[in-house]
């Protein structure tokens, strides 16, 4: 790993200022960034650790919206997001206990790994990403694998999840990486059903709109029996072909509807 300057501010304003340095990058739990720096896929000259910023931590609920600070670990969400059980369960299924004790929701959403779990929850819930400068609706946020609407130097400060009537996440785990081979998040709200798929597409997380329409009309696994997810643009690798992933999308969507 190349060396860098390490700074640990105590406030968001100080962090934003520190990120003005050339090639500066935020560090949250480091569970993604440190491995990529070891591989020299990433070589920031300054790392701005966000974990000393208390205002970025915590889970709170008000008016049917669950707000999670960007620096909240997966373990804390699993323990404290009881107001949104499907989200707490998703957080408790990420990686392993040591990863959950460090990794954060802000880091996961900023990274937008195509096989990560939180992007499915955020897109499936119709969440809002709050940054130091603005609020970004989730449908405008994800812009393809490892790409988001975040600008250079912009920090996620919190994520707001409207709590649905029912929801469930089904993760078909890739046992070596502990990420999702395919994961499907289904949420039923007063405005209809959202179905978000991770792990499957070359473009990262996406909504399966045909299934959303069918499930909005009839929230039952049988409602999507006649549909099939397209294998076009799906990931093919040694763990599964595009056709296999397409088949998993449908199976997991049905399971999520049953379990919701």
């Amino acid at each position: 790993m190349y060396n860098f300057e390490f700074v640990k501010p105590a406030t968001v304003d100080e962090a934003v200022a520190a990120l003005q340095a050339e090639d500066a990058q935020p560090l949250s739990g480091g569970q993604t960034l440190i491995p990529t720096m070891k591989q020299r896929l990433n070589a920031p000259s300054t790392l701005v650790s966000l974990i000393g910023i208390d205002s970025l931590k915590g889970v709170s609920e008000a008016g049917g919206v669950l707000t999670i600070g960007a620096g909240t670990t997966h373990a804390t969400v699993a323990a404290e997001a009881g107001a949104y059980p499907a989200l707490a369960a998703l957080a408790g299924g990420i990686g392993d206990p040591a990863v959950r004790n460090r990794g954060t929701i802000g880091g996961s959403l900023a990274n937008n790994d195509p096989a990560a779990c939180y992007p499915a929850a955020a897109l499936g819930s119709g969440a809002t990403v709050v940054t130091n400068t603005r609020e970004i609706a989730i449908d405008d946020y994800f812009q393809g694998m490892f790409t988001t609407a975040l600008e250079e130097g912009e920090i996620i400060t919190a994520v707001k999840f409207p709590i649905p009537e029912k929801a469930n996440y089904q993760k078909f785990e890739q046992p070596a990486s502990r990420f999702a081979l395919v994961g499907v998040f289904v949420a039923k709200t007063a405005d209809g059903v959202r179905v978000a798929v991770t792990g499957a597409s070359e473009e990262g997380v996406f909504r399966w709109t045909e299934a959303e329409a069918a499930l909005s009309a009839n929230f039952a696994p049988g409602a999507i029996e006649g549909l099939s997810a397209s294998a076009d643009g799906l990931i093919g690798d040694l763990h599964g072909t595009p056709a296999y992933r397409a088949s998993l999308i449908k199976t997991l969507t049905k399971r999520a509807v049953t379990a919701a």
Binding site: K8, G30, S49, P97
Partner: protein, 161 residues
């Protein structure tokens, strides 16, 4: 180089590190606490698990500077000062929960974190909690038995997976 200070196994320590110095490297190279093993250095194997402020973390995936002021516990602090093994370590010995021993420090530290959260875990809960701790020798069977025993539970003929 920047000075970093923390408490390790109850003792105040400090040392000079670079930004990129991992907590695992600080423990092993600066402090000579080589009980914390680095198996993969890619966040996969859990041999390097230590506790930071009470939570199990992979010390190969945390910078030493991010542990400034923290309370760190490693395998060296588990036995009593006279060398008497703690209940988890003793159970690993009694139930043959190790062969080469490379994964053992991480296994013992993960087991300690589990039993703090869940004093009487089921076999399935133990296996689930150890998801991030890889052992290439034992087949896990005797590790699960040791943790059952350490938690004061009967050690059934836990089925080998």
């Amino acid at each position: 180089m920047t000075e970093v200070s923390m408490v390790v196994n109850g003792r105040k320590v400090s040392g000079n590190v670079e930004g990129r110095t991992l907590l695992s490297a600080f423990l092993r190279e600066n402090l000579g606490l080589t009980g914390t093993h680095v198996g993969c250095d890619t966040s996969q194997c859990g041999a390097c698990v230590v506790h930071v402020d009470g939570a199990a973390v992979k010390s190969c995936t945390m910078f030493a500077l991010d542990a400034e002021g923290a309370d760190v516990a490693t395998i060296e602090g588990q036995a009593a000062p006279d060398g008497t093994l703690n209940v988890i370590q003793q159970a690993f010995q009694d139930y043959h929960g190790l062969q080469c021993g490379f994964c053992t420090p991480g296994m013992v530290m993960s087991a300690a974190a589990l039993l703090k959260e869940n004093p009487k875990p089921s076999e399935a809960e133990i296996r689930d909690y150890l998801e991030g701790n890889i052992c290439r020798c034992t087949g896990y069977h005797n590790i699960v038995r040791a943790i059952m025993a350490a938690s004061g539970q009967d050690v059934p003929a836990v089925a080998a997976e």
